[in-house]
Each structure stands twice: as C-alpha cells, then as structure tokens.
Symmetry: C2
Subunit: 204 residues, 2 copies
C-alpha cells in the first residue's frame, strides 16, 4: 500500500480539531498550573500536538491564550445556561439560583477565568482582550440571574442587589481557591437567600 485511503479528512476540519485540542489543553493547564505555569511547550505536549503545528495555528503565546479566552467564554456561557434550564421552581427557587451561581463560581472554568483575570491585570495585551469579553459575560450573567429570579430590575435597589449577589459569589469563589469550606459557603448562601427573598418580594 502506498497511502492509507481511509483517513481522508478535509483540512478545514483538521484545523478545527487541532485548534480545539490546543485551546482545551490551555484551559486545563490554566487550572492545573496557573497562568505562568501554562507554557506553550506544556500545552503542545498536553494536547498531543507537535510544536510546529501549534505555532502554525497560534504563532505566539498571546494568540493561543486569547483564543483560549474566547473558547472559555463560550464554555462558561453554555454551562451556566444549562444549569439555569435545570432549575427547579417553587419556594426554594431563590436558594437554588444561588446554589447554581455558587457552583459556577467554584468550578474549574471559574478557576481558569480567575487565572486570566489576574494575569491580564499586569499584561496590557491580554487585558485588552479579556476586559471586553468579561464585560459581556458579566452582563449576560446579570441578565440570566434577573430572569431566573424573576425580579423587576426597574425597581430601585433591585439592580444593585443582583450585582451584589454576583459579586458575593465571585468573592466566595475566590476564597474557595485557597480553602474550600463548603459548609460555610452553604450557610452564607442560605442567609443571603433569605435576605434576598425578603428584600425583593416587597418589590414585585
């Protein structure tokens, strides 16, 4: 035989797969080794892609990380939307929404995003790419939360309480990266749900 006639994959598809493998390896490594520990060499090894191929698709490390940021953004959106769809209804809904947010902000995707935020803080180029994306995600998350809770954003104070809720879970997520205290988190969210229900129910 001269060449294997079986494997006949169009180059567009090949590229897509390669890029996906590289981006996913990047996100994995962000979680595992942190931003600084995510070297291009490790990424290509982890992805099972040769260094040449990697540099063909992503000429510089920034190109790779930027692509990974976009990829991550998409994953984050999908994950959250899925969780929102599976939300129960009834009296415990507020608590369930908080649980969903809490889970999301302690998941690996959050960890990877955290590494990017902190990395972007001292990297001009990365910041330019991360900031707008993050703003979009933030707005989308806000919208989703409002929708899940079924509250009226026009009512004064409501918008701020939702924002506070999101900042709270962000803070909880950050704390979790160092010491994972699930019970503590749970109690806080219990109480927060109570406050939220009370404050928001008066403004239907």
């Amino acid at each position: 035989m001269t060449t294997t006639p079986a494997a006949r994959v169009p180059q567009e598809e090949r590229s897509r797969v390669m890029r996906a493998r590289l981006m996913e390896a990047t996100v994995d490594l962000l979680v595992e080794k942190g931003f600084a520990g995510t070297t291009t060499t490790l990424v290509s090894e982890r992805a099972g892609v040769s260094r040449g191929a990697q540099l063909h698709h992503f000429p510089t490390k920034n190109d790779l990380v930027l692509a990974a940021v976009e990829h991550l953004t998409a994953v984050r959106g999908a994950e959250l939307a899925a969780a929102a769809a599976a939300l129960p209804s009834g009296s415990r809904r507020t608590r369930a929404v908080l649980q969903m947010l809490g889970d999301h902000f302690t998941s690996p995707v959050f960890t990877a995003a955290l590494e990017l935020w902190v990395g972007a803080r001292t990297d001009e180029t990365l910041l330019a790419a991360v900031a707008p994306l993050e703003q979009r995600v933030g707005r989308e998350t806000h919208r989703l939360t409002v929708e899940c809770l079924g509250v009226d954003e026009q009512h004064p104070g409501t918008r701020e309480l939702i924002q506070a809720t999101l900042d709270l879970v962000r803070g909880l997520g950050l704390a979790t990266t160092i010491t994972d205290d699930t019970r503590r988190r749970s109690r806080i969210l219990d109480e927060w749900a109570r406050v939220l229900d009370r404050e928001l129910k008066e403004k239907p």
Copy 2:
C-alpha cells in the same frame, strides 16, 4: 582618611533594614508586575540591594516571598486597624464601615495579596504558608467588622451576614482589578448598607 568613623550600625539593625527593603520591594513588584513578573533580580534591583546580599538573607525565592507574605499580613492588619480607628459614629456608620472595607479590598495591599492567593493555588509550598496566615487575617477582619458594626454575633444569621459582607467586598475587589468602576461599587455598598442596617437592627 582610613575609614569613616561616623557610620557605625549594629549588624542586627542592618539586617533588619535590608530585609525590610527587600520585602517591600517584593510587595511593590507583586502589584506592579504580578507574581510571575516578580523575579528575584528585579527585587534586588528595586530594593537597591546586591544580589549577594539578597541571597544571604533569602536563599531562595520562596524564602523571600514567604517573608513578604508575613510582612504583608502585618501591613494589612495595621492599615485596617488604623482605618477602623478613624471611623465616624452616628447613623451613617454602617455605610462608613462598608466604605472602609471596600477601600481596603481595592487597595494595593489587597492586590498584592490577590497575586499571592492565586499564585499559592498552584504552588504547594506557598499555599502551606499563605493558607494559615490568610485564615488568621480573615478571622481578625471578621472580628474587627463585628466590633465596628457593634452587632451581636450570637444572634442567628448575623454571623453569616458579616461573612457575606466580607465575601462581597472581596468580590468587588477582584472585579476592580480588571475594570475599576467606582460608582457601581458605591451604589452597591449604599444598597447593602441599607439592607444590613435593616436586617441587623432587628437583632440588637
């Protein structure tokens, strides 16, 4: 002249000064360049200390960073205590306490601490040093907040509300490192102060 008889400093003092210079330079660089960007070479340059002297006091980078963590912890405590002492009394006290916390969690010391947290997440050794210190600081901050607000921690729910408040400002601090939106932060704290006063006043 043979030697300048004027400068006669005991070695203990010299060491102390040198170490302090190095630790402060380290903290500065953490803010400016991030954890990964804080190289030992940069630190010695910034501190105006020779490389030899640096390695004499801190044989490895970890030794240096660990010392910086402790130093930072002390600074954080002092800063917060000072802010607490200057707190006004009266009806707007709750808001003032939140402002104090908000300011603290957006200050350079917080930024440096953030870099250490994130760095420690993927560095076994660093984590072992940061985690216990952070727990101490956390408890101390909690205690201080309770004291400033003058609330009764025994009352069910109060403890969780205080914890939530601290996690909220932590989240706000994290968000600020990417996009500094002072007005947004201010409105959120306004609203939270209102809620807090209402929730806590019922439990004197």
